[in-house]
């Protein structure tokens, strides 16, 4: 193999599995260390800069970082886990984010200031969801005049109208949406944008469409029209609950669908009079779209989930819904490995109920965008959007969030927002959109003494800590009582210890190595091998431990004195630094990589070496 190019920021970025997996690339281990030090303000600001809504995301994020977390993989070989047959689990990255948000002080002084002077450019943003708000946050401090339109009275989008209050209290949304609006953004509530043509005619320098995926799919089976009064589209019903228009539901409720909306529907129904609430899904329990923790939360509240049942008909008694019937199916796989749901032929299953909530998917709808404006749509009615620049086919019109590629989640909306803001800024300056600013990257030794490092390199054997919950009896009494209590300082500290500091990189200097094997012998995870060079697939088979995780890179050195090379499999490295401690020549060093995405208008900024970046510097951006 050719020696690894560690000057390319992507190499070490990939080693930080969580940060690489995060759509906004939040520097996770850095903020976790700050939490462990009790520096909650700093931890919050690192998050705020990168993902804009730390308090909201710390409660609701889809957390793509957690399945990627190295902690799970390293615990697979742990003697403790073997004995207790407990599943290895990732660091509670998401809930630590919330801990920073909960325990911080007043950070407003450290947020960017309103631009002292406008730059004369005006940007229209349709919808006040997380995508638009991110664009506005990135652009306003640069002097852009941002006008945000939303048909609702308050900003926040689906974070406010869909996510139930027992998961995300209004106060948190008010606070974090407020930080954005306070940057001098013009918010126009209660304004439905009815025509893109008219909007363009107002002479904005750019338009950002962050209107979400507002339409819930319906279920057209017999009885739908007759029993309509007690059949509700999930997302419409949830927003009515949010706005306080709906406060009760029947005693027996069936929720159709296996996604996150279904989980919020069933748990909301439990709090609004639903005593017997059942979730019914077409396919298998394991294939449900809802995150595992959401299913757990629902079941914890006494909501059974039934699978392999396909809705057949709504049963009504003179227009009054009395139940719903299902066909039983099973999963079969054809020769190509494709799954089919085949009726088992067993008698139909009937659930008696008073109300049904249909949560079988969401759709985009752009009736207000005229099709002759140069904004192209594909055959499914989705806009044609560039995945990197977020640009539509009409210069100056950009999409992001659920509006761009269909329903996703908040953190993707934020990531799209950052990318779109860069594009809008470049567009307004007449620059090439395809040229993207590189991330800031620094690599600084953590060595303080022979065996002293400026990070805590001890590895705790502790298991993932559970977030304390409100007593279920109390929680189910109100739609507004927050269920999760969050980590306190002590729990947050303990959980933070589980982080492996994957951003503290093992950096190898081949010129210094005397091939004494000390690092190979000490490494608890058998990461390091000195061997003859070879092609990657073949090399992977003859390392100290086979390198089977192809998603993880091999770090390969140049030729050493004996002609061999050093090969390190990054997969299960603990970042414990023992290799560097045992190396007589300093050929290994532990260096902290700090990688930060560059946002709109930002030129790469240099941080003081060896210190957490001062997030206050944001103001100077």
């Amino acid at each position: 193999m050719s020696p690894t190019d560690i000057a390319n920021p992507d190499y070490f970025h990939k080693v930080v599995d969580c940060q690489w997996a995060c759509p906004a690339h939040t520097p996770v281990p850095e903020y976790i260390r700050l939490i462990a030090q009790g520096r909650y303000d700093d931890a919050y600001l690192i998050n705020w800069k990168s993902n804009v809504f730390p308090g909201i995301l710390g409660r609701t994020c889809d957390r793509p970082c957690e399945p990627a977390c190295r902690r799970t993989r390293v615990e697979e070989g742990s003697p403790e886990h073997r004995r207790a047959s407990a599943r290895p689990e990732p660091v509670a990255i998401c809930r630590l984010k919330r801990a920073a948000a909960d325990m911080k002080g007043d950070i407003r002084e450290r947020l960017p200031r309103r631009a002292a002077q406008g730059n004369g450019k005006r940007v229209a943003l349709v919808g006040a969801g997380p995508a638009s708000l991110t664009v506005a946050r990135d652009l306003a401090p640069l002097g852009y005049h941002c006008v945000v339109f939303d048909r609702d009275a308050k900003a926040g989008g689906m974070m406010r109208t869909q996510i139930p209050k027992f998961r995300l209290p209004d106060a948190i949304i008010d606070e974090e949406v407020g930080y954005v609006l306070d940057l001098g953004i013009e918010f126009r509530p209660g304004v439905e944008v009815g025509s893109m043509r008219e909007l363009l005619a107002q002479g904005f320098d750019a338009v950002f469409v962050g209107s979400g995926a507002p339409r819930g799919r319906d279920l057209d089976i017999p009885g739908r029209r007759e029993a309509a009064k007690n059949i509700h589209i999930g997302i419409d019903w949830l927003s009515s609950v949010s706005f306080g228009h709906v406060g009760r539901i029947g005693r027996r409720v069936v929720v159709l669908g296996g996604g996150n909306t279904a989980m919020d529907c069933c748990r909301s129904a439990r709090r609004l009079g639903g005593e017997e609430v059942h979730v019914v899904v077409r396919s298998g329990f394991d294939e449900m779209k809802a995150s595992p923790w959401e299913k757990e939360d629902a079941m914890h509240e006494g909501i059974p989930i039934h699978n392999y049942l396909v809705p057949k008909a709504f049963v009504h008694d003179g227009g009054k819904l009395v139940g719903i019937t299902f066909d039983k199916v099973e999963a079969r796989y054809d020769a190509k490995g494709r799954r089919e749901l085949v009726p088992t032929g067993e008698p139909e299953v009937r659930f008696d109920c008073d109300d049904v909530l249909v949560a079988v998917g969401q759709e985009n709808a752009f009736p207000w965008v005229e099709r002759d404006l140069g904004v192209e749509f594909d055959k499914w009615g989705m806009p044609v959007v560039d995945r990197i620049t977020m640009a539509s086919t009409r210069p100056g019109v950009f999409f992001g969030g659920d509006a761009a590629f269909g329903p996703k989640n908040i953190i993707w909306a934020v990531a799209h927002g950052h990318d779109a803001a860069i594009s809008i800024d470049r567009h307004c300056r007449g620059e090439d959109l395809r040229q993207r600013p590189p991330p800031t990257f620094q690599l600084v030794s953590q060595k303080m003494g022979i065996h002293e490092w400026s990070y805590d390199n001890a590895i705790t054997p502790e298991r993932r800590h559970r977030v304390p919950l409100k007593d279920t009896v109390i929680a189910l009494k109100s739609i507004k009582v927050e269920v999760e209590l969050g980590f306190d300082a002590k729990l947050a500290w303990s959980e933070a210890q589980r982080c492996l500091n994957c951003d503290v990189q093992t950096v190898f200097a081949d010129k210094l190595c005397i091939e004494c094997d000390a690092c190979v012998d000490i490494c608890p995870m058998d990461c390091i091998t000195f061997t003859a060079d070879g092609d990657e697939p073949e090399l992977r088979t003859r390392l100290h431990a086979p390198a089977v995780n192809l998603a993880q890179d091999l770090y390969v050195s140049g030729a050493l004195k004996t002609g061999r090379v050093m090969v390190k499999d990054e997969d299960v490295c603990l970042h414990c630094g023992l290799c560097a401690e045992r190396c007589p020549t300093g050929a290994w060093d532990m260096k902290k990589s700090y990688i930060e995405m560059t946002h709109a208008g930002g030129t790469p900024r240099v941080h003081l070496p060896g210190r957490a970046p001062a997030p206050a510097a944001l103001a100077a951006d």
Partner: protein, 351 residues
């Protein structure tokens, strides 16, 4: 050294041996030797060898003298018996322990100072008595622990770190062991575990006095230009005569034909070692020609490594002395104190 305990976590695919142990179960606490010391690599090789042999750790006794090398038993086989004796006196303690309990597997760990300087007399007698054990010399040419004075194995003309030249003739422990009647004599290099691990495995399975002299660079005091025990020097002058494959009894012994030829030596336990020759002419069962070769290469400044001499004679100190067949602690009071009638019989036989 490090202040951090080695985490218990290990690679998910870490193999287990017949006893269900992983290699990690044969480790001890983290070494306090200088980072990069060859001795630590030898510890790692011992761990690997005992893991591969699936030896229950509590069946092993590791004994040592004084020196950095003699400290290392702390860092491997943490579940085994250990005895850290007086400088140069490990052989007599090991001999005594072996006589008292013949059932344990004995591992003597020593340094070149411990064995060739202060302990040379003890070294000679344990070899000539054929004590059943594996004797590992971690040979760095200096007294590491006392800061790098030349030891008795330092080559004539080699330079100390301070620039002095050694003017004394070196003692070659391999040659000495062969002359004194050791029946398994090998030399390895701490920087080549591929060669060292099978040597240790075969030595452990050999019945009788087995010695492995392991050249082990002292990174602190003997790894400079001018030293003949440095990583660079040994790598440049390593004359490997053969490689071993140790094969336990259960595996069929097939003599494969390989370049250089293969020689199979059956061990007393029914297992065998396959000697893969690198040097066609070298025959480790031919004592006289082996000694001639070793001396010639030494004169030329080469470090000969591999299995250098083996004689599967299947007899040890216990056989020679016709001792009782079980450990002394397994004898009952009736056997140990047979009574006055028995005494009278003995006395009568001496009249």
């Amino acid at each position: 050294m490090t202040y951090l305990a080695k985490p218990k976590l290990h690679h998910p695919s870490l193999p287990r041996n017949a006893l269900g142990f992983t290699r990690r179960d044969y480790e001890g606490p983290v070494s306090t030797l200088c980072a990069g010391c060859g001795h630590d690599s030898i510890s790692a090789a011992i761990i690997q060898a005992f893991f591969e042999l699936a030896i229950p750790p509590h069946r092993v006794a590791k004994l040592s003298g004084i020196g950095c090398s003699s400290k290392t038993p702390t860092y491997f086989l943490g579940q085994s018996h250990g005895f850290n004796s007086v400088h140069g006196r490990m052989p007599s303690v090991l001999t005594g322990a072996n006589l008292a309990n013949r059932d344990l597997i004995y591992l003597g760990i020593s340094g070149d100072g411990d064995s060739a300087s202060i302990g040379l007399g003890q070294f000679a007698h344990i070899m000539r008595r054929g004590v059943n054990m594996t004797y590992i010399v971690e040979n760095n040419g200096v007294y590491g622990l006392t800061k790098g004075q030349f030891s008795a194995t330092a080559d004539k003309g080699s330079k100390s770190k301070a620039g002095y030249s050694n003017e004394d003739e070196p003692i070659d422990l391999v040659m000495l062991a062969v002359t004194l009647g050791a029946t398994f004599v090998a030399r390895g290099f701490s920087g080549d575990k591929g060669q060292l691990v099978p040597l240790i495995k075969a030595a452990v399975q050999h019945k009788g006095a087995a010695i492995v002299d392991v050249v082990s660079p002292c990174v602190a005091f003997n790894n400079h230009p001018g030293s003949t025990k440095s990583y660079d020097y040994v790598r440049a002058h390593n004359d490997t005569v053969n490689f071993l494959d140790y094969m336990p009894e259960r595996e069929p012994i097939v003599a494969r034909s390989e370049p250089g030829g293969v020689q199979t030596v059956v061990l007393h336990d029914g297992g065998a070692i396959r000697v893969r020759r690198v040097d066609e002419s070298y025959d480790p069962t031919d004592k006289v020609s082996a000694m001639a070769y070793l001396e010639a290469r030494r004169e030329a400044g080469e470090v000969v490594t591999g299995l250098l001499f083996v004689n599967e004679c299947d007899a040890d100190l216990h056989d020679a002395q016709n001792t009782v067949g079980v450990p002394l602690n397994a004898l009952s009071d009736a056997e140990l104190v047979p009574g006055s009638a028995a005494l009278a019989k003995v006395n009568a036989s001496l009249r």
